[in-house]
């Protein structure tokens, strides 16, 4: 009878100690980088809308998780440069829903009208360090009427629900065309992930 309480005390202290340890060391993820630009699109004068999608366990501490770049009209060469900064600081309580970046490349034509040129998404790399990424983009093709209309008056089919970019519904039914690639440079900094058994 004498032994039980002390044991209990011991375990609770252990628990407290543990909780103290984990509390001070929570997993953090910094994503710093830029959307450099895009190549391989049929037209220049592009801009890009981007957003970061995470699972429910993730919490944004600082930074903007979506945005839009300027319109770049390259004078020379094919590549449109945006050099749009991305700076995010996340904390997480679980690995699920690792951040992914989804992009929409838009084209602004000479009349100032904007039309969609491509959807793309890419996982934020999970290994720390600098990463040069290339995100291939695609665009729904639409019916031949759409294509005809697009040829003459611009515009084009768009997804009704843009979450399809990163959610995996039955995409195989979608007819798409590959568009250019978007180049990104992301530096990933992990902190305290090793405390939770995630080796980096």
């Amino acid at each position: 009878m004498q032994q039980a309480p002390s044991l209990q005390l011991h375990t609770t202290r252990e628990c407290l100690g543990l909780s103290h340890r984990t509390r001070t060391l929570m997993a953090e993820l910094h994503i710093i980088g830029q959307i450099i630009g895009a190549t391989g699109f049929p037209q220049n004068s592009l801009f890009c809308k981007w957003g970061v999608h995470t699972g429910g366990a993730w919490r944004l501490l600082a930074g903007l998780k979506e945005g839009q770049t300027q319109v770049d009209m390259p004078q020379t060469g094919d590549m449109a440069y945006w050099s749009h900064p991305i700076d995010l600081h996340y904390t997480t309580k679980g690995l699920q829903g690792w951040p992914k970046l989804h992009l929409q490349v838009w084209h602004q034509d000479s009349f100032g009208r904007c039309q969609l040129y491509g959807y793309g998404y890419i996982h934020v790399p999970s290994s720390p360090g600098q990463h040069r990424l290339q995100c291939a983009t695609w665009r729904p093709l639409g019916s031949w009427q759409d294509q005809l209309a697009e040829m003459f008056v611009g515009g084009g089919p768009q997804l009704r629900s843009p979450d399809l970019i990163y959610s995996g519904a039955d995409r195989y039914r979608l007819h798409t065309v590959g568009m250019g690639t978007v180049e990104l440079e992301l530096c990933v900094i992990l902190r305290h992930f090793d405390r939770y058994g995630v080796e980096s």
Binding site: M26, K93, R113, D146, G155, S161
Partner: protein
């Protein structure tokens, strides 16, 4: 052919000869051949050196001679015949070998130089010794010949060189090609060669001074050293060449060889090699043979080396033959099965054995045969065949049809998430708009507003008859709807149903005991029955009442028609009777009544039973208590006899309270019950057997034509026909459309039937319909109807038209038959029983979301607005499909339906019941919960709470949310433990304070409340502006230099030609510094104090109290200056015997205090610059933070008082011991924000001096400055010239140019924008204002703020006779409201204007609020007043008030209460931008903006540009101000309490400030001062009663008093402390100093408090 063949023969001979003799001292080409030969033969021979060494001389000579001959021959040859290109061999080597020769023409050495060449092929000298010997012999012979020849032909050499050069040019390519090849071939012998070359090189270097050649060679070797061999290519070329020469021979040879090879099948490579080998041998043989013959034929010409040959041709048959030998052609015939299988194996067919064998891919039979044949030829060919003797093959993998289904017909079934929509390319303008915080920016939304019509239920033009008719129609409508619903019937049915059920149940269980469940159900049913019965009774009652009133109104209408003898309305009422069968009806009725009676009885019985049982229980209790009582009493009696002590206690304990004796409940009276029921039935139901009455309203009645009507009625009808109505559609308070104007009909119905399609980009907030009624062209707003924004499921086509009821409280009267509205009228002739009707009616309209072409609703998604990207899957809402929108919680709905006992039969509930049935039917099962991310919990690192608890994350999050406390955090520590919990303390406290009001800080609870409120407003505004700050315009991001226009350029050019004027210096613009790169200590505040005017001078004290001294303010009185001993001592410094003063200026800012030196006299000149450091709060130098700096610069004028403290007269000669005391004379305070926003402040400022300055008086300047005096006499007070600036110059933050939403008409907003733009273009330095932002953040036109408002009556009553004094008092009152600059409270945001009532509630405001309030007061006092928008010093852009009275314009400073004449030179107002009153805004377009130099006559359009002019008339803007202000009388007691508290605080503070000295308080003086203060207040702080002063003097005669009263508006205690501190009274350090402090708080209405602080220091006079 003969001659060439001869030549060839010769040539060949000669060449062979040469080859032999030279031992391959030959050109490269030759070497090539030789080397190949070498290669094919043995590589082992190395007898080169010997040979080379021996051959040197002869070889050289021979070569020469040969070359010479060659030259000759070539010439000849060229002449003679068109030869096929000379074989390369002959010439190529020449250039290389020629070079040394050229250099040393006559030298013998060249001969020795050459050997390296021959040495190149050491390996080639494999020849047998016999051959060598022969060769040497021959060489020798040739050498002798050549020597002689050389001598002969040395003359030709130059030519030959030329030739050689030419040749070289043509042939270098080949040269280059072959050389490396050669060398590579000889790799094996390379070392030997190298050795040799070394020797040779040594030789050359020895003998030749020039080192150029060998090194070049070396380099050459070096570079070509690693060249890869091309063994394959080499032999082939070789092959070709001999082939060319001896085609036929070789052909045969090959063929022969080929035959041999044929036998070795399948080993083609080896074949090839073998062939080559043999070929090489072949080639070799004839070469040697030829050489043998021609070797010594030196007299060769070019022809000798050339040959002309036929085109090569192998005839067909031979080629076929050869091909047959080399190639294998598999036959096309079927291979017999036996050869495909192993011996003695029968083919086995898997299909026949019943196994499934897939279909093989189709291969043509021929192809298959060929393949099989070919495979069989190969080694292990059989392994390719399966058991069935066929080539093994997998089944055909290609499906017959494509597995990807075509898309075209799948479009409809596509998952909605996958659907694509064709979107037009859109202008980016639309892309940016905000309806879609939700992912889908491009979709366009459309609202359809269908305005179908309008029915007036009352209209001012109604005649009496119309009123009745309308009422009738309304009642009838009610009747119809009721009938349609037929609630009574429903309820009756339900009741019957319930009764039947109960009956059935009872019958079922007849005689048996009812089970528990059944009993409960019975009870429930009974309950239900009772409820339903009550409902039915009510409904029946209503039905009957309605019917009655319909008939009554109809009767009234008929009476009226009769009375007025005309008919206005076509209404007619028929009452139809429906016969009923009397018997049955009576029976039913009776049944019903009986049933009811029965039920009631049962209920009553039940009730009675319940009560009875209750009664019994109580009775039992009572009885038991009684019994106890008795027992107890008995006991007591016994006990009393035995123990008398305990008696009392016990009896009290046991008795307890006596329960009341319950009364038995009354037996219900069933007899009267029936009576009651019958009576009720008679009241609310039709009598049994009576016919059913059904009213029917028709509009078929005739209306009396106009001609037959009396005049009044005729006028009314005329009026009606003139009226027209139209409806404006306002979307988000903006007019978007309006209907056509429709005439008002006689029946007061207007039909519009117009549909407006609104394509919207903004989120719909409100949709309004404004009904306008017009006569002729003018129209008035009748009423405004707000239409709710439809749910996104409400779509055009399916949405029903709604009737919106409206009414308006307009008062309209007519002098004709129209009854008007809002006015009482009566139907009776005698005017009794009047009634008042308001214009009202029903507007039938329908607002719904449009449906696009492809049936896509053009509605925004209904999910929460601004919720980010919406999920496409979320749209598949089962409930939304049914039609009930925003009913998401099915569980709750179901529960509610169960609880409320929805009647399934009620038609109103059909949709809900249907929905519920669908849900409960299991089709759409709603699970208990749903999990978004499975297994999330299991894999979590830690819990939410832990995450929440992290201080670091919290800090980071708060910083990124830009919460004020954390916004400027630059670095957040990386470790959790480095963040202390204290960081959040302030923040948490603030959050907590949101609810709790801290009265301690603010003293006054009201003010605390206000401060809280202000804080809230501020927060919301700041949040808005933070959002707005993130909206960038192009100009924010891109800084673009404006392209100079031609005009500017021209002007600048013109400037160049300007004469230089060195004496007219230009001010250079200082560099502006942006706030980011600043840190503490970088910013300095420069205060330049130039001079002072009219500083009060010391008034001389008398040692005797009664000697009169004059008031400091009494300028008019001559000043008597009795000279005193004390003054005398100092006075010696003053030659003029004037009362002296040594003023100096002290500037204090942020607790750093600096002062000038003391100057002398009342008009001193300091001209000193004071530099004060500035540090921003939290070290944050962003412009918003700088703008919110609340610190003020205090500029105080002191008098330096030197008093001699040397006690001993004898010491006076050699000791100076003076005490410096200083007396405060006045101060100026300038908020830092003003300096920051204006960047510099320059001018002469009025010093605020206390009304009374003990010991000082205002000296009237004497005659010397007479001219100036006249002007100055107008002003009263002390002035100081200052120049203040910040170094370096800071860029003030931009105000937000967010477009605030507005309720103004669009046209007005545009006009105001244009007006302001034009004004700023013409006069950029004159402030112009036409729209301002009110406290709600809406743009409001400025004239709306001006409206006459009553000042507190108290103030008006104070001086009933003197309007001027009243005005001053009012101004004083206004100035007593504390002022709080907006730039401080709304840092970096904008100027917000609050209305006067808000201002008085908040008791804080800017200059504008003060000015508006003062202006409104003046207007209500019947003065002509304007608001001046201008700029003044030191405030900068500000608002003043202008009044006009007695032909004189007065300018009032609202925040001080001062007023100035138009020509007052010291008026702080410097620039006048515009004048505003309630009607108009005038902009100053005069050449001058200073009030002194301008005219205030606003009627002159040349001087003042009005906003509303003829072209743009005033639309009649209503005021935003309240109609009247209500003032709360301030609690006097509270003021007294406040007074005590302030005094206490100040006293403590003064003692705190004097830590090293005791602070003595002179109570006597304090009490005197206390009496004195209220009088000061009454006099408005100006005319101080002389007597009191004298009194003070007399009372405190023995003291030297210096002190003054301070006057402040009360906001909080801090500024008061600040002000007292800045006077520096506490600094008096004389040992015997005493202090006096008195505080007086005078309450004004509306909680405006005026605070007086009298502070004085007393020194005992010696």
């Amino acid at each position: 052919m003969s001659s060439p063949s001869d030549v060839r023969e010769k040539m060949r001979k000669k060449r062979r000869e040469l080859q032999e003799s030279l031992g391959r001292v030959r050109d490269d080409k030759q070497a090539l051949v030789a080397s190949d030969w070498d290669l094919s033969q043995d590589n082992g021979h190395t007898a080169v050196e010997m040979l080379a060494g021996g051959q040197e001389d002869p070889g050289e000579t021979l070569r020469r001679s040969m070359m010479a001959k060659r030259m000759k021959k070539k010439k000849k040859l060229l002449k003679e015949m068109p030869v096929e290109s000379p074989p390369d061999e002959e010439v190529t080597a020449v250039p290389e070998q020629d070079r040394p020769h050229d250099d040393d023409d006559d030298d013998v050495q060249p001969v020795r130089d050459l050997p390296p060449r021959p040495a190149m092929r050491p390996g080639s000298s494999q020849s047998e010794t016999t051959m060598r010997q022969r060769m040497t012999e021959k060489l020798r012979a040739a050498k002798s010949k050549a020597a002689s020849l050389l001598e002969q032909e040395s003359i030709i050499e130059p030519a030959s060189r030329l030739q050689s050069l030419r040749d070289r040019e043509t042939l270098t390519r080949f040269d280059r090609d072959t050389d490396p090849d050669l060398r590579a071939d000889e790799d094996s012998s390379f070392t030997a060669r190298l050795k040799f070359r070394d020797v040779a090189r040594r030789a050359t270097t020895d003998k030749r001074t020039e080192a150029g050649l060998p090194t070049a060679e070396e380099a050459y070797n070096f570079f070509t050293f690693n060249f890869d061999p091309e063994p394959q290519q080499q032999p082939r070329r070789k092959k070709r060449r001999p082939g060319r020469r001896e085609a036929e021979e070789e052909g045969e040879g090959e063929a022969g060889e080929g035959d041999g090879e044929d036998e070795e099948e399948g080993e083609e490579e080896r074949e090839c090699e073998g062939e080559e080998e043999s070929e090489a041998r072949d080639e070799d043989a004839p070469l040697v043979r030829d050489e043998d013959e021609d070797l010594f034929l030196i007299d060769q010409s070019a022809q000798d080396f050339l040959e002309v040959r036929r085109a090569e041709y192998v005839d067909y048959s031979r080629r076929l033959q050869r091909e047959r030998d080399t190639l294998f052609v598999p036959s096309m015939r079927t291979v017999p099965a036996s050869s495909k299988l192993a011996e003695n194996v029968r083919p086995r067919y898997l299909e026949e054995e019943g196994l499934y064998v897939g279909e093989r891919p189709h291969v043509g039979l021929t192809n298959q045969n060929i393949l099989e044949n070919r495979i069989l030829k190969q080694g292990e060919g059989r392994k390719w065949f399966g058991d069935d003797g066929r080539i093994m093959a997998l089944p055909d993998p290609i499906k017959e049809s494509s597995s990807r289904p075509p898309l075209f017909h799948l479009e409809d079934e596509l998952d909605p998430a996958l659907q694509t929509a064709y979107r037009k390319a859109l202008k980016s303008k639309h892309v940016n708009l905000y309806i879609s915080g939700m992912g889908d920016p491009q979709s366009d939304y459309q609202l359809d507003v269908d305005v179908s019509g309008l029915i007036f239920s009352h209209h001012p033009l109604f005649s009496r008859e119309h009123v009745l008719a309308a009422r009738l129609a309304q009642l009838y409508d009610q009747h119809l709807t009721r009938q349609h619903k037929s609630l009574t019937r429903l309820l009756t049915d339900k009741l019957n149903g319930l009764r039947n059920t109960i009956h059935n149940m009872l019958e079922l269980h007849r005689g048996e005991a009812l089970s528990q469940v059944t009993q409960q159900r019975m009870a429930e049913y009974k309950q239900e029955v009772r409820h339903t019965r009550q409902l039915r009774d009510v409904e029946q009652d209503k039905d009957r009442a309605l019917l009655k009133s319909i008939i009554r109104v109809w009767k009234e209408l008929k009476a009226l028609r009769d009375f007025q003898r005309f008919t206005n309305t076509p209404f007619k009422l028929f009452v139809r009777r429906e016969k009923v069968e009397r018997e049955q009806d009576e029976q039913e009725c009776e049944d019903d009544i009986m049933a009811e009676v029965e039920e009631l009885q049962a209920e009553m019985e039940e009730d009675y039973q319940k009560k009875m049982s209750e009664y019994r229980r109580q009775h039992e209790e009572w009885k038991s208590w009684k019994r106890k009582q008795k027992v107890l009493k008995k006991k007591q009696k016994k006990k009393r006899q035995q123990e008398e002590e305990e008696e009392d206690e016990e009896s009290e304990e046991e008795l307890g309270e006596e329960p009341e004796k319950p009364d038995p409940p009354e037996k219900p009276d069933s007899g009267s019950l029936e009576e009651q029921v019958r009576e009720k039935a008679a009241r609310i139901r039709r009598k049994p057997g009576e016919p059913v009455l059904i009213p029917e309203l028709t509009v078929s009645g005739p209306v009396t034509p106009n001609e037959q009507c009396p005049r009044a009625e005729f006028a009314r009808r005329e009026d009606v026909s003139k009226r027209a109505l139209f409806i404006k559609v306002l979307y988000n308070d903006k007019e978007v459309s309006r209907t056509d104007s429709r005439a008002l009909n006689m029946d007061f119905r207007v039909h519009f039937g117009q549909i407006f399609n609104l394509k919207i980009v903004n989120w719909p907030e409100s949709i309004k319909l404004q009904v306008f009624e017009g006569v002729g062209s003018s129209s008035t707003l009748l009423v405004e109807v707000c239409v709710p924004v439809p749910e996104s499921s409400v779509l055009t086509g399916s949405a029903p038209s709604e009737e919106m009821e409206f009414s308006s409280n307009q008062r309209v009267t007519f002098n004709h038959e129209g009854v008007g509205s809002g006015v009482p009228f009566s139907f009776e002739a005698d005017g009794t029983s009047t009634q008042t009707l308001l214009t009202s009616g029903k507007l039938s309209c329908c607002v719904s979301w449009a449906v696009g072409e492809d049936d896509v609703p053009l509605a925004p998604p209904s999910s929460q607005p601004g919720g980010g990207m919406y999920s496409g899957l979320g749209q598949m809402d089962a409930i939304a499909c049914i039609g009930a929108s925003s009913l998401n919680d099915m569980k709750k709905l179901g529960k509610w339906a169960a609880e409320s006992r929805l009647d399934p039969n009620d038609p109103n509930n059909t949709s809900i019941m249907q929905l519920l049935s669908v849900v409960s039917g299991g089709d759409v099962a709603v699970p208990e919960y749903f999990r978004l991310e499975q297994l999330q919990e299991e894999f979590n690192f830690l819990t939410d709470e832990e995450l929440q608890r992290s201080r670091r994350f919290r800090l980071l999050r708060l910083r990124s949310q830009e919460v004020a406390e954390f916004r400027h955090f630059k670095c957040v520590p990386s470790m959790e433990r480095e963040i202390s919990q204290k960081v959040f303390q302030d923040y948490e406290k603030r959050l907590k304070d949101g609810e709790i009001i801290d009265t301690k800080e603010h003293i006054d609870s009201h003010r605390a409340l206000v401060a809280k409120y202000l804080q809230k407003v501020r927060e919301s505004v700041i949040n808005r502006s933070l959002i707005a700050k993130h909206h960038f315009m192009l100009s924010d991001v891109v800084s673009e230099d404006e392209v100079p226009s031609i005009g500017v350029l021209g002007w600048n050019l013109f400037k160049l030609a300007e004469p230089k004027r060195p004496l007219k210096p230009h001010r250079k613009e200082r560099k502006k510094v942006t706030a980011q790169n600043l840190s503490d200590g970088d910013i300095k505040l420069l205060v330049n104090i130039i001079r002072g005017y009219d500083i009060p001078v010391r008034r001389l004290h008398t040692s005797k109290p009664p000697v009169s001294a004059k008031s400091g303010r009494s300028f008019t009185e001559p000043f008597a200056a009795p000279v005193l001993s004390q003054i005398n001592q100092q006075g010696s410094e003053w030659p003029f015997g004037q009362p002296l003063i040594r003023p100096f200026v002290e500037v204090s800012f942020q607790r750093s205090v600096l002062q000038t030196s003391a100057a002398e006299g009342p008009n001193p000149c300091w001209n000193e610059e004071i530099v004060l450091p500035f540090s921003a709060p939290n070290g944050d130098y962003s412009s918003t933070s700088l703008q919110s700096v609340r610190d003020e610069v205090f500029i105080n004028i002191f008098d330096e008082l030197l008093s001699d403290v040397v006690e001993d007269e004898r010491e006076r000669e050699n000791t100076i011991h003076t005490r410096i005391a200083r007396h405060w004379l006045g101060s100026i305070k300038i908020p830092f924000s003003t300096i920051y926003l204006q960047s510099r402040i320059d001018g002469t400022f009025k010093v605020s001096t206390p009304p009374v300055l003990l010991g000082y008086s205002k000296e009237r300047s004497l005659g010397s400055e007479g001219g100036y005096d006249t002007i100055r006499s107008l002003s009263e007070g002390t002035f100081l010239s200052l120049f203040i600036t910040i170094e370096p110059q800071l860029v003030p933050g931009d105000t937000v140019r967010e477009k605030f939403d507005s309720q103004e008409v669009e046209r007005l907003l545009i006009a105001s924008e244009v007006f302001e733009k034009e004004a700023s273009r013409q006069f950029p330095d004159r402030p112009c204002l036409s729209t301002v932002i009110d406290i709600n953040g809406k743009t409001v036109f400025v004239t709306r703020f001006i409206r006459p408002l009553n000042p507190p009556q108290e103030l008006l009553d104070a001086f009933p006779n003197s309007p001027q004094e009243t005005a001053e008092l009012v101004a004083r009152y206004v100035s007593l409201v504390p002022s709080l600059p907006d730039s401080v409270s709304f840092a970096g945001v904008c100027d917000l204007w609050s209305t006067c009532d808000q201002f008085l509630t908040l008791l804080a405001g800017d200059e504008e609020e003060h000015a508006v309030l003062l202006c409104n007061y003046f207007l209500s006092m019947g003065r002509r007043a304007w608001l001046i928008i201008g700029s003044a010093i030191p405030e900068g852009p500000t608002a003043y008030v202008l009044t006009y009275e007695q032909n004189r314009y007065l300018i009032w400073n609202p925040s001080t209460g001062q007023h100035y004449g138009q020509y007052d030179i010291f008026c702080p107002l410097q620039t006048i931008g515009c004048l505003i009153n309630s009607d108009n805004v005038w902009f100053n377009i005069q050449p001058y903006a200073a009030p002194v130099r301008m005219s205030f006559d606003v009627s002159k359009p040349k001087l003042w540009k009005p906003f509303f002019s003829r072209s743009f008339p005033d639309p009649g803007l209503s005021s935003v101000q309240p109609e009247a202000l209500v003032y709360r009388r301030t609690d006097k007691a509270a003021a007294v309490e406040l007074q005590d508290r302030i005094e206490k605080v100040l006293r403590e503070k003064i003692m705190d400030w004097r830590p090293r000295h005791p602070t003595r308080w002179n109570r006597y003086c304090i009490s005197t001062l206390r009496q004195f203060l209220p009088k000061l207040e009454l006099s408005g702080g100006r005319e101080v009663a002389e007597e009191h002063r004298l009194e003070l003097q007399s009372l405190l005669g023995e003291y030297t008093i210096s002190g003054f009263p301070l006057h402040l508006p009360f906001s909080e205690i801090r500024p008061i402390i600040e002000a007292v501190h800045s006077t520096g009274v506490h600094k008096a350090e004389a040992p015997n100093v005493e202090f006096a402090l008195a505080v007086h708080v005078h309450p004004y209405p509306g909680n405006v408090l005026s605070v007086w602080v009298y502070i004085a220091s007393l020194l005992t006079a010696q």
